[in-house]
Symmetry: C2
Subunit: 104 residues, 2 copies
C-alpha cells in the first residue's frame, strides 16, 4: 500500500481531485484500469491512493520523461478527457521531484 520507491531523487505526480456525484462503478473501473496501465509503463516506481472528500493519488516515476510518456499514452489521454469533462468537479496535478525520504 505504501510504495517501495528507490533512494531519491525520483519524481512524484500528486493528483488531487474532487469528484462529481455520478457513475461510481464506471469511475472505479476507469481508475483501476489507469493504475494497472500506469504500472506497466517504463519508469513507473509505484502508486498510493486514498479518497475521502478529496481524492489523492501519488504516482512515482524515475524521470520527467517517463511522466511525459505516461501523460501522452493514448488510453490515458482519453481518461484525462473524461476526467475533465465528466468525473471531476475540480482537480490539480503537481509534478514534483522527491529530494529526500524517511520512514519506518
Amino acid at each position: 500500500m505504501i510504495a517501495h520507491t528507490p533512494k531519491p531523487p525520483y519524481y512524484a505526480v500528486i493528483f488531487t481531485s474532487v469528484r462529481n456525484d455520478l457513475d461510481e462503478s464506471d469511475y472505479q473501473a476507469m481508475a483501476a484500469r489507469m493504475v494497472e496501465l500506469a504500472s506497466q509503463q517504463p519508469g513507473f516506481l509505484g502508486v498510493e491512493s486514498a479518497r475521502e472528500e478529496v481524492g489523492i493519488t501519488v504516482s512515482y516515476w524515475e524521470s520527467l520523461e517517463a511522466i511525459r510518456q505516461w501523460k501522452a499514452h493514448v488510453e490515458h489521454r482519453e481518461a484525462q478527457r473524461l476526467g475533465r469533462e465528466r468525473w471531476y468537479a475540480t482537480f490539480k496535478t503537481r509534478i514534483s521531484r522527491v529530494e529526500r525520504d524517511y520512514g519506518i
Copy 2:
C-alpha cells in the same frame, strides 16, 4: 479541499501511512491539532488529506527551511514520537519540490 498553492516552485511533504488499529478518537484529535498547528507556521501554503487503507497527507510549503522548522516544532515532535511508537504500523515521508502544476 484542494489547496490553493501559488505558482511553482514550492515544496510538498508527502506523508503516507498505515495506521495501527487503536484509539480512533485520540488519533483524530491529534491529527486535527497537527493540521491546525501546521497551518499557523511560517511558510505554510496548504494541506490535503485522505485515508482509506492507506492515509495520504500532502502539505505544501514555501521553502525547505519552513519544512525543517515545522519538523522541529516541539508539539509536532511529540506527535512524531507518538506516530512512530503508537499510531502507525508503517509510514513514509517524502520531501519534494513542486516544479509544475495544472488543473481545472
